[in-house]
Structures are given as C-alpha cells and as structure tokens.
C-alpha cells in the first residue's frame, strides 16, 4: 500500500475531459475514516468510459505505483469518501443555484469513491443538457487537511455565447410535413439556464409561423424542464378545403422524456374563407374558436435506424382532449391516434420488410355531441407526399395521392350566370374524416451497384392503403365496417431512395390500385420527401 504523498498528482489541463462529478457538500455524518487519505492531495480525473481510472500519463514509476495501488484499493472494496464542498468556477452569468440544483442531489447520495465517480458522470451529463455551457469539467480535489476522508469538487464551466442563430429543415411533432425554419436563440439571459428563442418557419404545406419560446430547466420544485411557447401561425388550405387558418397560440410542455410527452395548448383559431367559394360544410365551420387542450404522446422506437429501418418495432399513441377549462364554449373533442410499425430483416441483399398500420378517431363530447361536427383542422386527412416508412405520424400518408387527396368531400359554391356557356364544375372541398385507417408494406433492398450501396441509396417496392369515414353529425348510424373495408383506397409502386443528411428523398413510380370519385390520386412518377 503506497503512501500517498502530498504531491500534486494532477496533470494540469492535459486530460481534463468534460466530466462532472457530483459532490456532496459534506453533509455526511462524520464518518471520515482515517485511511491513508488523510491529508492527501489527490486529484482524480474521471473519464466517462473508464470508471475510476486516473491517467498518470507516463509519470515517474512512483506515480504509476501510486496509481496502481489506488486502483487496487478501489477494486478491492469501497473506499470511503465524502464531499465537503462544491466549488463552481467560470460562471459569470449563470447563478450558482442553477448549477447546484443540477448536481447536488447526485452527489448527496455518494459515500464512496466509486459512487462519487459515477455521480460525477451523471452531473456532467445534466449540466451539458442545459445547453448553456460550451464546456464543463469536473475535478475532484482533496478536502481541507483537517478533515480526513473528504474531497472538494471543482466544477469549471465555460459559458456559451449568448446569441446563436441557425437555419434548418425540421419536422415538428404537430406538423405533418417538414418546414424551413430559421431561429435565433438567446441563452441564459437571466442566469437561470433559461433559453429564449424566436423563430420563423415556412412550411411545405403553405404554413408560415412566427413564434417565440422560453425553456427553463427547472422551476423551483419542479425538476423536469418547462417549455413555453407563443406562436402565430397562418396556414393556407384554400386549394384543398377552401379555408385559411390563423392561430394565435400558447403552449406549455409539461413533461418531456424519451417516451412520454405531455403538453397543454391554448389557441385562438380563426378560419376564414376570403374567396367565398367554400362548400356548405366548410362554411358552417368558419369563424373563431378557442382550443384549450392537453395532448399526451407515448412513443417507443426500437428500430435500428431512422433512415432505413431493418429490424425492430415502433409504437406511437397520441391522445388529445380538447375543451378543458371552465368555459363550455371552447372546442370539445377527443382525438386518439395509434401507429404501429415493424421491421423484419430478410436474408438477401440487405433487404427488410417494413409494415405498419395506423388508425385514428376524433369525436366531440359534451351535451348533444352526436349532432355536433368535429372541428375541421383536427380531423384526419389522408394523402400526401411523405413516406410512411420512417416517421411515426399517425394515419396520414398515402403515396400516390396528393395532399388531402382522399376522403369525404363536399361540392363548392355554385355561381350562376345568365349566358349560355357549358357549365364547369366548381370543384369540391376535402372535408377529412373522423375515423381514419392506413396501412403499408414496404420491401427495401440494396441496389446491385457498389456505388449505390456505399452511399446508402437503395430501392424499395411498396403497397399502401387508407380510408376515411365521417362519424359525426349522426353519420355513424350509416357507418358499417363492411362498407368501410370495401371503400379502401390503395396504391402500389416501386422506387429509389436517396438518404441525405437533411432529408430523405424518394423517387417513386406509383400506380393507383383503387380510388373513388373526388379523390386526387395520380399514377406516375413522384417525388416524396420526409425528414430523417
């Protein structure tokens, strides 16, 4: 057992990796066992991959011996060590309390060296997740000489530049397609780890949005991050359903983990029809409404890749309840979506079979709900150009049909004229459905050329089907599963997929197997985009 000397063993700056070591502020009971650590100056740097391994980096043999003996001691049994003090350096703007709140409880529970090193890693990750620091490093220093068996934790942070901006292409969970978004972020304005951002987005489906948000890592007692957002969004559906949507909304993310997501949304929505051509069903639904809803999403994705899944499964369940709040005049509805995917590898050519089925239903609630219509923008619309394979987005896509290209429709306004000319049909509005079911099967395989294989370009053959039905306003009496099954729209095709860093592009040839009157399905070559 080597005697640890008073020498400083810290290879300064060399191997200061980004680690955080949680430290207790020395609250432990006076259990400072007088081991050989008495009055030592030891600094341990912890690497994330290797636990409890200090790198002496080619020092004198005595150093190495010292380190080796330390390891022996560490591996032989718990080495009692507690934290005396936490020193935070480098935070000009960030409040100490913010950093301490992230790390203290991890350190509090550590009473041995091993636990301390583990806790350090945890704290490191937590502080990094705040996104307000450029780099974080934690070193364990020996405690004051008069207190044996203690150590100090020194946290060095480098704060990030306060203002950043970026531009990119994203898919938001609420959006059904991707959008070009530019945003400006102000980090840590008040020192509480707060991130303010303002962004403008222009979406592929003629949606434009300006929003500003605030995210707080924690608010007093609540330890999950809180996100609040104010947004003004305008979306143009004139071509498909003869209405324009304008939303002024306030949303709060209440809970956000890898699997669960809970958000509250308060929105003032206005539907207008500046052209005056809307059909009767849409015309009746124009106007102002208040949406106060909670949305809970449960999502698991165990597939091996987002761009080209070959094995695994994924599941999404999304529930939205609208009409919460004392005001009975806000929109009241319940919307439920399910989405199940599976990917199965087949032996040859790196091919895989992806299958998926998705279903959704929306119903109003409240007095006399059977006669009420469901809100127009919340209904399900099946169609569009985004591939169903990668993203879990509910029953929404049907390749081969244009956006909102299938389902119940209503004829638009008829404008009479006095002259003798052949009548032209004014077109029809897509109304969406209250019940939607879609399914697909997709077989992907490598292309024979090595060039393609290396860059990830592969081919696929697919078939997909979908259907919509109206249930509200007493239409559920006419509904029958047999009729629903018989009226499924379907398409099949093949194509090549180009996965790039920004998005996933497909060039497909789609053949429409079955479509009905007023659907907009087109057989031919199409480009489909989806976000990775």
């Amino acid at each position: 057992m080597a005697d640890p000397s008073e020498k400083d063993q810290n290879p300064t700056g060399e191997e200061k990796k980004e680690e955080k070591e949680p430290q207790e502020a020395g609250n432990g009971g006076g259990e400072g066992e007088n081991d050989d650590e008495n009055g030592e100056e030891e600094e341990y740097e912890e690497e994330e991959e290797e636990e409890g391994e200090g790198k002496g980096g080619g020092g004198p043999p005595t150093e190495r011996e010292k380190v080796q003996s330390l390891f022996r001691r560490l591996s032989s049994g718990p080495v009692r060590l507690r934290v005396h003090d936490v020193v935070i350096r480098g935070n000009a703007k960030t409040k100490d309390s913010v950093i301490e709140a992230e790390v203290l409880d991890a350190f509090r529970s550590a009473s041995t060296m091993q636990e301390l090193l583990q806790a350090a890693g945890v704290a490191n990750e937590r502080l990094r997740r705040l996104e307000v620091f450029d780099s974080v490093s934690i070193t364990l220093d020996a405690g004051p000489p008069e207190l044996p068996g203690t150590s100090n934790v020194i946290i060095d942070v480098v704060e990030a530049k306060p203002l950043t901006g970026d531009i990119g292409i994203f898919t938001k969970p609420e959006a059904r397609s991707w959008s070009l978004e530019g945003s400006v972020k102000l980090k840590n304005l008040f020192g509480y780890g707060d991130i303010w951002d303002a962004s403008g987005a222009y979406g592929w489906d003629q949606a434009s949005e300006i929003s500003a948000g605030l995210s707080l890592p924690r608010l007093k007692a609540i330890s999950t991050p809180l996100v609040g957002r104010v947004s003004l969004l305008s979306q143009d559906w004139l071509k498909f359903s003869s209405y324009k949507e304008r939303l002024l909304g306030l949303s709060f993310g209440l809970l956000s983990t890898t699997r669960h997501n809970l958000a509250y949304n308060l929105t003032w929505r206005t539907l207008t029809d500046p052209t005056g051509m809307a059909s009767k069903s849409v015309r009746r639904l124009l106007g102002h409404s208040l949406l106060s809803s909670i949305k809970y999403t449960y999502k698991i994705d165990h597939r091996d890749s987002h761009l080209r899944p070959t094995r695994g499964y994924a599941f999404l369940s999304s529930t939205q309840v609208g009409g919460l709040g004392p005001d009975s005049k806000s929109l009241r509805f319940i919307r439920q979506e399910f989405d199940l995917r599976g990917a199965f590898p087949l032996g040859f050519y790196n091919s895989a079979l992806n299958v998926g089925v998705a279903a959704g239903v929306i119903l109003p609630w409240g007095r006399g709900f059977m006669d009420l219509p469901s809100p127009l923008p919340e209904r399900f619309y099946v169609g569009g150009h985004s591939s169903p394979v990668c993203n879990l987005s509910g029953p929404a896509s049907l390749l081969g049909f244009r956006t909102r290209g299938s389902g119940p429709t209503d004829s638009r306004r008829f404008i009479p004229s006095k002259s003798d000319d052949s009548p032209t049909f004014p077109g029809s509005d897509v109304l969406g459905g209250d019940l939607a079911v879609t399914g697909f099967a997709d077989l992907s395989f490598d292309l024979p050329l090595k060039l393609f294989r290396e860059s990830g370009i592969h081919g696929h053959v697919f078939v997909n089907a979908g259907n919509l039905a109206k249930l509200t306003e007493n239409k559920f009496k006419d509904f029958s599963f047999r009729k629903f099954g018989e009226s499924f729209r379907s398409s099949a095709g093949f194509g090549i997929i180009f996965p790039t860093k920004l998005f996933r592009m497909e060039i497909n040839y789609c053949y429409i197997l079955k479509q009905f009157e007023h659907d907009h399905g087109k057989t031919g070559i199409q480009f489909n985009f989806s976000s990775p």
């Binding site: 636990e51 124009l286 102002h288 091996d304 761009l307 306004r413 404008i415 004229s417 009548p423 860093k501």
Partner: protein, 329 residues
C-alpha cells in the same frame, strides 16, 4: 315539383343570421332587414344561427342549394337576391317613384344605420352588443373582438377624442331629420311606397324594430323614434302582421323555382343557370400557363434530383443513424 329532396325540407332557402334575442327573430341590425325582406316576399325559408363570425361582414347570407348570396358581395344579400331573381320585391315599383325610392333607401342605409352602429358600439355600455354577438363565444375571444369592433366603428364614423361630442350631435341630428322625412313620407299609409312592401320597408322596419326592442329605454335614438307615432304604429303593425304570423309553407314564388333541382345545379339544363363562364381567351391563356408551369416544375425537379444524387453519391450520406446517445461509464 315532386323532387324528394325539396319536399323533405320546407323550402330550400336557408338564411344564416346572428342569434335571436330581445323578442326579435334575429337581433343583429344587419340581419334583421334580410329576414323581414324574405318574410315580405312570402318566401319559405329556414333560419340557421351563426355564432362564430361576429366580426365578419359575410353574415347574413342566404343559401339555396349550392348557391350562396353573401352580404359582402355585390351590394348585399338583398341586392344579390334581386339580381339573381331569387326573391324580388321591387320588380313592380312604378318608375316615377324610383328616384325618391332610391334616395330614401340611401338615407336609411347611411344615416340611420350609422346611428344604430353608434348607439350599439360606442354610446352604450356594450352589454347589448355582447348579448347579440359574443355571448356564444369563449370569454377572452369575445372581449378582444368587442374591443376591435368598437375601434372599427369609431374609425368608420370618424370619431376621435377631440370631435366626439360634435360627431355625436351630428349623428343624432341626421337621425332626427331622417325620422321626420320618413314620417312625412309615410303619413297614414300602410307602406312607405306603393301599397305593397318594398326593400325600403324591409330595411326601415328592421331598423325600427331594433331601435324599439333592443336598445335600452335611455337610448336617445329610441326617444327620437318614439316622437313619431305613425312610425311606431307602422312598425308594430307590420311586426304583428308579418313576423308573428306562422311562417307560411308555400313554395317560393320566385321564378328561380322554374328550374330543376337546385342542389345539383351542374346537371341543370335550364338556360337561366350556367356556371360563370370564363372569357374564351382567358381560358386558353390559362391552359398555356398551366402547361408552361408544369414543364417548369419538371425542369426544376430534375435539377434538384441531379444535385441530390451527386451529393449523396459523392458526398457520402451517413449510414444508419442511431439516436446518438453515446454510452456512458
């Protein structure tokens, strides 16, 4: 006619108007004249209330199958109905009275309408407007829209904080002049012009009923109207006669009936109704434009695809992307 769909509903005319209160079939001062007009014409129609569009000028509107007459088009619902020959009250107006008829109509539609708007939005405490327009909307929306509408009316009347008093006096002065003129015009007759109801009667009756029933007793406008006894009698008498009588189930007398089923107008072979034609030249141009646009889209798409193929082949896209969480410890 024997058309099943038509016999199902009692007349396929539907009037969509704002809600009914204060004992009036519809309490909004711009919807009430349309209602009365349809009643005068003895048209059978259903009324449907719209509660979500208090600030939009397309309400009231009349639907007849797939045909719609909005209030913000072509001079208003009544004008549209007359022009499209659906319901026309004024077809038999003697040509001699036309100039006076037109100026009376203009006077009611401007001076008296402005006075009502002023009383409803600016002069009162807002409770009447709330009841008519915003009582079925959620509270925050109602409050904001009410404020917006008040500001809009003030701008329309040209009222600012400096000239508020003079403007108010001017509005009431004009209203008084109008009432005097109408009272003189009416005399002891049953209707304002001719011995039958015309559009002017409908508009004035709508105004009078609103002033008498919806505005509070302290209203200046109501007090001015009450000074003219013959106008008040006229209003009450017509109200009992036309509005409170049970709605007739007669088939609409409009010539529009002659055509076949209105709910499928495109199959209509009648020469009256054709969809709006586009001038031939414009249609051809649009065809060419469409072809050009399609070709341009294909061209751009090909360019984009070429760039992407180049990037992915030679830029090397990332392989399977994992979630990126690296293992710790």
């Amino acid at each position: 006619m024997g058309d099943e769909r038509r016999e199902e509903k009692k007349g396929s005319l539907v009037l969509v108007a704002r809600k009914s209160c204060f004992g009036l079939p519809t309490a909004c001062p711009s919807c009430l004249p349309v209602y009365i007009y349809l009643r005068f014409a003895d048209a059978s129609f259903d009324i449907h209330f719209d509660v979500s569009n208090p600030d939009s000028d397309h309400v009231p509107y009349v639907e007849f199958g797939d045909y719609v007459a909005f209030n913000n088009e072509k001079g208003g619902v009544i004008e549209c109905l007359k022009e499209d020959s659906i319901v026309d009250l004024d077809s038999k107006l003697p040509s001699l009275s036309v100039p006076e008829w037109v100026s009376t109509k203009a006077m009611i539609s401007t001076w008296l309408a402005e006075a009502v708007q002023y009383e409803l939005w600016v002069a009162s405490d807002g409770s009447i407007a709330n009841k008519i327009y915003f009582s079925d909307l959620p509270w925050p929306i109602g409050k904001i829209l009410h404020w917006k509408q008040t500001r809009a009316v003030k701008q329309l009347c040209g009222i600012t904080s400096l000239n508020a008093v003079e403007k108010e006096a001017e509005i009431y002065r004009k209203a008084n002049i109008a009432y005097d003129a109408l009272s003189t015009r009416l005399g002891a007759q049953e209707f304002l012009f001719d011995s039958r109801p015309t559009t002017v009667d409908a508009i004035f009756l709508g105004h009078a009923l609103f002033v008498l029933h919806a505005l509070p007793d302290t209203s200046v406008l109501q007090n001015s109207l009450l000074k003219h006894a013959n106008l008040v009698t006229y209003a009450e008498y017509l109200k009992t006669d036309f509005l409170e009588a049970s709605s007739s189930s007669s088939i609409p007398r409009s010539p529009f009936d002659a055509s076949s089923s209105s709910s499928m107008p495109r199959k209509n072979a009648s020469s009256r109704w054709r969809s709006e034609p586009r001038p031939k030249a414009k249609r051809e141009r649009t065809e060419e434009e469409k072809i050009f646009r399609r070709r341009a889209k294909y061209f751009l798409a090909t360019q984009l695809v070429a760039v992407i193929v180049f990037l992915s082949l030679f830029g090397g896209a990332d392989g399977s992307e994992d979630a990126g969480d690296y293992e710790e410890d």
